[in-house]
């Protein structure tokens, strides 16, 4: 912390109380850095990472995001990977609805048993949207051209709304869906 100035060595003068505060500030910030590291890398609470690029113009009609044909049995967008334990849900966000969704029209209901792990794969076919499952840590952007994904476990039975959290045009306020967790 010293340098030459006009041939004289000048050291930076710091008041002792301020020196103590600098230490406190660094400790405070290190504590937060450690806390997010513990939550992220030891308790497994992670943010979305790069998944897959897609073409937003065609992905809505491609498997597994495409709506099932009228004569098709079941819904390929809701996949039971391990019965009662592991599920995958593929959702298209578009102006101004999620598909599949139980609301506003029960196009197809999402029902998952309590205690199961659910992975959401969400992408947009038009503008940017948000996807937030209330009362869980699932909260991410749905960006056209990209697939967003997060996995969480639903322990409590009940109805969980998922809402659009990014402005996506005049119908944005009505854009939501829900998932039913059964006993």
């Amino acid at each position: 912390m010293s340098t030459e100035a006009g041939g004289e060595k000048v050291r930076m003068h710091i008041d002792p109380t301020e020196r103590a505060w600098i230490r406190v500030a660094i400790v405070v910030l290190v504590i937060f850095a450690l806390a997010i590291t513990v939550a992220g890398f030891m308790l497994g609470i992670q943010v979305p990472t790069e998944e897959q690029r897609v073409d937003p113009r065609t992905i809505g009609d491609a498997a597994p995001w495409a709506a099932p044909a009228a004569d098709e049995e079941g819904d390929p967008r809701i996949q039971e990977l391990v019965p009662g334990e592991k599920y995958a849900v593929y959702i298209i966000a578009k102006m101004w609805l999620f598909a599949p969704s139980q609301v506003p029209t029960p196009e197809s209901g999402i029902e998952i048993p309590a205690g199961a792990e659910v992975t959401f794969y969400v992408t947009s076919t038009d503008v940017q949207h948000g996807f937030k499952v209330q009362n869980t840590n699932v909260n991410f952007m749905a960006v056209p051209g990209e697939v967003s994904t997060l996995t969480t476990e639903f322990d409590e039975p009940g109805t969980y709304d998922f809402i659009c959290t990014e402005y996506c045009g005049t119908g944005h306020a009505a854009m939501f869906g829900s998932i039913t967790i059964t006993e």
Binding site: T3, G169, H172
Partner: protein, 570 residues
């Protein structure tokens, strides 16, 4: 202090420069006045009350329902967050540079060209904004598409601010050549450094608008890459916050201590804090993209840690500013562990505004820490917590400080005494009270899951437990508006009244001395080159690899969409 008019000024700013600075303030306050009309309407909308039709006279095409909400929200964001700030900051910077260096601008015509380019940009962008053809909010995320005039207007505003910046750099460069023995005054270093940081930061938005959006809007490309657009936008988007904040910090460090009757506690640490803001403001934009699908989690984590790093100079600022205020209060006879706070000159409108700004900013800093914390952001991303947060930063720390600065700056440049100083003090308190109610409610209902940017009065999924908080949002928002209008009235009457200062009377710019001698500070605190190199290196390390990856992986697949229709344009 504001009414202290007898001191002889150390340096008198020319009439033409005063008028030039006055134009900055005029456009800034005009933008704030119009932009803020929508604030209480948005807040009331959260409680299910629709007063938008009362503003129909403003519009070329009268929008209805949610379209009115979003047109208003776009105007609110653009006029308040981009125009009020940029115009006020360039005006304040002009004053600080001239008065700090006691020297005219090196090339006055350059700053004038830059400024009027900003005004032209504002007018050009206003046409589609008022015509409901650019209701894309101030983040204008593609592939939602606005009228091309909106983007062209923004480009003119940003380039105009660059040109004003170049005028400041050249002025400081000449001064340093003329005064090789002197340290750059802290105030000048702070405001010029802010313009340099802005210049670097806005390269992101320049790349986004010139490289991606305009070619797409003019149909030269079939589509756009929304993820890359977001990355470019947030390269600028976060440093934008520091561009707003650093002039307020400059006032807290270099003026507020004098106004409070004391001295700056530490000149050297103030300088160190500003240099750290230069190198740390830009390389952390991914903390706005923690939940983006196209950015690897590892880069998000690195930017989260860097964001915690930029809190360090803010914490330094907290201590130095509070200590300077305590010194002033003790000089004024303040006693006790906390009792000294009462001894500060709360009756001075400029001081009161800035003290209240600082108090609100403490809370804003804390909620910002949560936003910046990687996975913690999952709890609150895109909820009303986020606008709750930035109303404590840009709309409190920055805006209330600019109120405080205006209360001496407008008398200074108009040579007219401040009209009704008591009303000026009241304006800050009313605004402060409204903000406390509003921001507390926004943070709380955000934690419960309420989405931002949503007219919740129209949303079908609002649970009962949100309603009480949404009502407080409405009440707080309405009170804030009253405080803001008091500010506008005080400043406008001050500027337009007939009363003038008598000959020889003036209000000088309140520059504080330091408790430590600035000439005793080490020389590395007055050298630009090492800090600029460090800035470039850190940006390249933190952004380079991921940015190149996204640029080489570009996919121009998204057609444009109008916010009112799910059918793509073209």
């Amino acid at each position: 202090m504001v009414t202290e008019t007898t001191q002889t000024p150390v340096y008198t700013i020319s009439k033409s420069d005063k008028r030039f600075i006055g134009w900055h303030v005029f456009f800034a306050v005009a933008a704030l006045t119009i932009g803020s009309l929508f604030g209480p309407l948005q807040a009331l909308q959260q409680a299910g009350i629709d007063w938008y039709p009362s503003l129909d006279f403003l519009f070329i095409n009268i929008p209805e329902g949610p379209a009115a909400y979003y047109q208003g929200l776009t105007l609110h964001g653009v006029l308040n967050a981009l125009i009020w700030t940029t115009f006020f900051i360039t005006g304040f910077t002009t004053l600080a540079v001239i008065r700090g260096l006691k020297r005219d601008l090196a090339i006055p015509i350059m700053n004038r060209i830059g400024f009027w380019m900003m005004v032209v940009g504002l007018v050009v962008a206003a046409i589609p904004l008022l015509g409901d053809s650019a209701s894309v909010l101030y983040t204008f995320y593609p592939p939602m598409q606005a009228d091309s005039l909106f983007y062209i207007g923004l480009v003119l505003v940003v380039v105009g601010s660059w040109i004003e910046g170049w005028g400041f750099y050249i002025t400081l460069y000449r001064w340093r050549k003329e005064n090789p023995e002197e340290k750059t005054p802290l105030i000048v270093m702070a405001v010029v450094l802010n313009m340099v940081m802005w210049q670097i930061a806005t390269l992101g938005i320049a790349a986004e608008v010139l490289g991606l959006i305009l070619p797409w809007t003019f149909s030269l490309t079939n589509g756009i890459d929304p993820q890359l657009s977001r990355t470019f936008f947030w390269f600028t988007g976060h440093p934008l916050v520091y561009f707003w904040l650093l002039p307020a910090y400059a006032s807290w460090y270099t003026m507020l201590p004098k106004q409070a009757g004391g001295k700056l506690f530490s000149d050297s640490l103030a300088r160190l804090a500003f240099w750290l803001f230069l190198i740390l403001s830009v390389p952390l934009g991914f903390h706005h993209q923690f939940v983006d699908p196209g950015v690897p989690a590892g880069w998000k984590f690195i930017h989260s840690i860097l964001t915690l790093g930029v809190f360090f100079p803010s914490l330094l600022t907290f201590f130095t500013v509070v200590a300077s205020l305590e010194y002033a209060a003790r000089q004024r006879g303040g006693k006790g562990l906390f009792g000294w706070i009462r001894a500060l000159p709360w009756g001075d409108p400029s001081v009161a505004a800035q003290l209240l700004a600082g108090i609100l900013f403490m809370f804003g800093g804390i909620s910002g820490l949560a936003n910046a914390s990687y996975n913690v952001n999952l709890v609150l991303h895109n909820t009303t917590w986020v606008p709750g947060h930035f109303h404590l930063t840009v709309a409190s720390a920055v805006t209330l400080s600019f109120f405080g600065i205006s209360y001496w700056l407008v008398p200074h440049i108009t040579d007219k005494p401040l009209w009704r100083p008591n009303l000026a003090v009241a304006s800050s308190w009313v605004y402060f009270a409204g903000m406390l109610i509003f921001s507390n409610a926004m943070h709380t209902v955000g934690l419960l899951g309420a989405p931002r940017r949503t007219p919740l009065g129209l949303a079908p999924y609002v649970p009962d437990e949100w309603n009480g908080h949404l009502f407080r949002v409405a009440v707080g928002g309405a009170i804030m508006w009253v405080g803001l209008m008091l500010f506008v009235v005080v400043v406008a009457v001050t500027a337009w009244q007939r009363k003038r200062f008598a000959d020889g009377e003036t209000v000088d710019i309140p520059l504080a001395e330091s408790l430590d001698d600035p000439n005793n500070a080490p020389a590395w605190l007055d050298r630009w080159k090492p800090w600029l190199i460090a800035t470039a290196v850190l940006i390249i390390l933190a952004y380079g690899p991921q940015l190149l990856d996204q640029i080489f992986g570009i996919e121009l697949t998204s057609p444009g969409f109008d916010p009112g229709s799910p059918i793509p344009n073209n």
